[in-house]
Symmetry: C2
Subunit: 667 residues, 2 copies
Amino acid sequence: MTETAFVVFTPSGKRGRFAHGTSVLDAARSIGVDLDSVCGGLGLCGRCQVEAGSGHFAKFGIESAPAHLSPPGEKEDRYANRRGLADGRRLGCSAQIQGDVVIDVPPESQVHKQVVRKRAEARDYTIDPAIRLHYVEVAEPDMHNPRSDFERLTDALGEQWSLDGLTADLHVLQGLQRALREGEWSATVAVHRAQRIVTVWPGFHERAYGAAFDIGSTTIACHLAEISSGSVAASAGRMNPQIRFGEDLMSRVSYVMMNPGGEAELTEAVRGAVNALIGEVAEQAGVARGDILNAAFVGNPIMHHLLLGIDPTELGGAPFALAASGGLTLQAAGIDLDINPGARIYVLPCIAGHVGADAAGVVLSEAPHRADETVLIVDVGTNAEIVLGNSERLLAASSPTGPAFEGAQIVAGQRAAPGAIERVRIDRDTLEARVKVIGCDLWSDEEGFWEATAATGVTGICGSGIIEALAEMYLAGILLADGTIAGAARARTERIAEEGRTFRYLLHPGEPAIAIHQNDVRAIQLAKAALMAGARLLMDRFEIARVDRIVLTGAFGSHIDPLYAMVLGMIPDCPLDKVSAAGNAAGTGALIALLDCAARAEIETVVRAIEKVETAVEPAFQRHFVDAMAIPHGTADYVHLPRAVTLPAAESAPAPAGRRRTGRRKR
Amino acid sequence: MTETAFVVFTPSGKRGRFAHGTSVLDAARSIGVDLDSVCGGLGLCGRCQVEAGSGHFAKFGIESAPAHLSPPGEKEDRYANRRGLADGRRLGCSAQIQGDVVIDVPPESQVHKQVVRKRAEARDYTIDPAIRLHYVEVAEPDMHNPRSDFERLTDALGEQWSLDGLTADLHVLQGLQRALREGEWSATVAVHRAQRIVTVWPGFHERAYGAAFDIGSTTIACHLAEISSGSVAASAGRMNPQIRFGEDLMSRVSYVMMNPGGEAELTEAVRGAVNALIGEVAEQAGVARGDILNAAFVGNPIMHHLLLGIDPTELGGAPFALAASGGLTLQAAGIDLDINPGARIYVLPCIAGHVGADAAGVVLSEAPHRADETVLIVDVGTNAEIVLGNSERLLAASSPTGPAFEGAQIVAGQRAAPGAIERVRIDRDTLEARVKVIGCDLWSDEEGFWEATAATGVTGICGSGIIEALAEMYLAGILLADGTIAGAARARTERIAEEGRTFRYLLHPGEPAIAIHQNDVRAIQLAKAALMAGARLLMDRFEIARVDRIVLTGAFGSHIDPLYAMVLGMIPDCPLDKVSAAGNAAGTGALIALLDCAARAEIETVVRAIEKVETAVEPAFQRHFVDAMAIPHGTADYVHLPRAVTLPAAESAPAPAGRRRTGRRKR
């Protein structure tokens, strides 16, 4: 009789009795333990690494010992010499069971690795890529059994990987002969959704990559990740070159309307930038373009359409009809991506005409649909996209905030770039201001500030800077609740000056002098009122007066200090410790969709269920908008911050998350 | 209570009781009667035409009358004015049931029309195209329910046509906005396999077409058919322009081997010819290229690979490995077809390295797998492809006949073209010959022959001509059983002349004089022995000494007189009335696969089950080959034609089927 041993796999706890001599990989597979392997047991990929436990495991009633596995064989020695093998680690395909043993499968050896995110409230996800690699050994051609190369390949995939009914792209058939012969009848096959062969490499090919994109109107961000481990190999961002056709979305739609064929120019521009970014991250990570097999995209509806080569004109006016909105799986070649010719792309669903795939990405990343608390998510940009709800019900809307938050319509406004004021503090007594600019860690009243900013100068004020400036002006009494710059305060400071019938406040002397003008305040009031009105409209629909939690996302949303946003009345009241910045949640959503197939199905289902609210046709929106113009706004539902709120000292001010800058000193 | 009536549909016999006022189309659909409709009941397409029976139908116990349907309404009048409506015909979508009635659905109103073929032994098939058209009315965009154009389209297809879970090509999404708005929220949608939207036309679009191709080494043939009726709208053929790279298959493979990138030139050439043919048939039929949505292809393995852009080099030598052999469904754009951008193609499966998709087409057309009798099918060309079997078992092989049957290797040989001798009779007493040439209906001894052939001249002898010449020479005693031209017969005619150590026979005096040389006989002996050896090898495997039926296909196979083929020992003995010519059965197979989806699945299953025999590695093939050299060959299994067989008089000779020629007189 064959001798057998009792084996328990951790962390799954799956267990079974196996004949001595069974390889750990075979044992694991036979009972459904999640143990990875690309090479199918040849000792090439090292993905099936395990560790044997040592000692008595009372829980399982086992006396386990590393010696209960066969000593390392030739295959393991070869692998260890070539790639290194940590102490205690064994290759599951080589180590054979020779006695009772507890075998631990470390996270990196699991096919469905769990990705745990840093922010406690962010959802974790599981690596489950759309495209997987499989190494196979293929039978040589035989005149007596004239199966084609492709049939022998699919037969091998059936036998060695239990993949059946596979079809292939034409380019795969065209390149198959060479791949199989170059690999001497071995090949690594990339299979999409366990259905379609998209690439065949000769011999053993270890890694494949994917790229996740957030196509913003202003910037495009990209992460390159290894698709089976989920590890991000490189990230990069660049300006959206469509800016030359118009700063904001509507001016780009106008360009298309005025210039026949303009949509093709805009499409070419955005695809060119995507390809350039791919080149950049590939070079950073030392990855060949041909090894990139998958890409996932989020973007607002207009970017979504232009990337896909769809005319965005319809999105420029009511009824804001999207051409297509569901999640889309397409060939990368269809949008001219210069990556592997068999690569596929996934485009996340759009929610509505103004609430795009970027908002879907935010939902996927922040997972309000899994929350018990009622969460308000605000993606602040030219349009604010707003999502409200919990696991029971989700609402979404967009609010026409306009470009003021991005520094447009502000006299000294500018984009967030070195030299732009991003932090402001105003002394409550002297009404003197001090500022911080992007690219320098010193406050303007600290020693060395002028020298440190000499290169860039202090060129203007960016979105988060203007929010702080206005909130500080309000807290210092320079700005009244109705948004008027208080001329009366002239008595206390020379920083306030008359300007026609209104006043301005000098934020930062210098060349140029940076001042806040009355019209700047009005522009921000309009923008923040729109944002708040959108949130209020959704809260009305949801029939709640307060939200449990607020998440600010997007480049601007992540840089605002939530306290100041609340002082200004941009967002509803909420305990400060329940307001968080999620960074580029849309981009994170794209990354999750890239790496986790189940997440694609999840977001498509969630988006279908979201109740879409069109602010433009809601009479209540106007009412909320008017109510929200004041600072803090006048709705009685809210608990307002007291005028004399004690702000943290500048040095210990909460550091807004997200923006990275070279040379920033540790605070 | 609602009044009801009893309705019987013929020919299906399906019946039911329906409320008065129910439309015939609705009634038919509700009980699964196969009644066509593209427009979904708007009275636009006229596909749902029916006829009401008149009188007592004892079988059904019904007193039926046309008056038991509502009088023709506005919809029918409009249709009749526009398109005409035959007497007694009603539109099923308009006519309402008002009393008991027998309703006949004529064949052209059935979705799954049966196509009955002329030859009794050929298989019928059912129209069931891969791509169907559906007219839909789509909801307009609505801000309060912001579904995208594509969602509203698929919702409409779900509601109006029960099509669910549809996806679409990217180009469909790109063109959708315009199509829906141009059609004022109505569109005709082409759906592939009830799964994927491949085209959307604005408004009502009535017809879609498909093209069936037989890609031969020498000629390419094309049929254009309307895919829902199956009616062939146009046919055309042209030379395969690859001929400039080499006359026969092997010289083209050599070209690829010798010229790097040569396969791309050959691929471009064949695709160019396919596109030119499409232009030709589309013009003939007055069809726009954009209305062609599907194409089906057959061809030998080398043509199959070159069409698909696959290097054919591997097919040039043992083990003759195909790159891909299964049935393939691909995008037409992938092989550069200039038809609708969403068009799909289907390529029939190849059987083995030498037995191509053309042989699969022959099998699909001739359906030996459905036969009770054991059928031998011979597709004669440079390689003869041979299929033997019945519904129990099928075998296939190819035999290296070489190009002699096509006139190569024959001193006066030429392709079948005007001026080539195609029929020969030799007087048994005088040993005088008379001939017929392609392009002229007169025998050479008839009055007016010389005038009638003055334009072309008598330029040579084609494949079918040489078969007849040799068989007649044999029957007249000029050719001995071992293939020697009998010098002894010189005593009886001056037509035989010495030529070195051998003799020649003058077939036709003139300029040039056409003679049969000893080496010509040897070349044909080799070719016919190869063909017979292949057939015998399969018969051995099948363990039969005789076949029940023989089908000759292919351009050459269809032109040979079966009697002479049997005299020469090209094919096994078989009652003459059991030998038939199937014309271009491969092309017919492509047409069937184009029009009938079920046939695609059928041929894929049949091809997988075929036992492939590689003649090159079968020792028995050599033996059969040597045995088959003689005329008639020396195997005792066969019943030989007596030397003194009485041939029919020339005037009443059986007319070989297939070749069409302008100006041929009726015999």
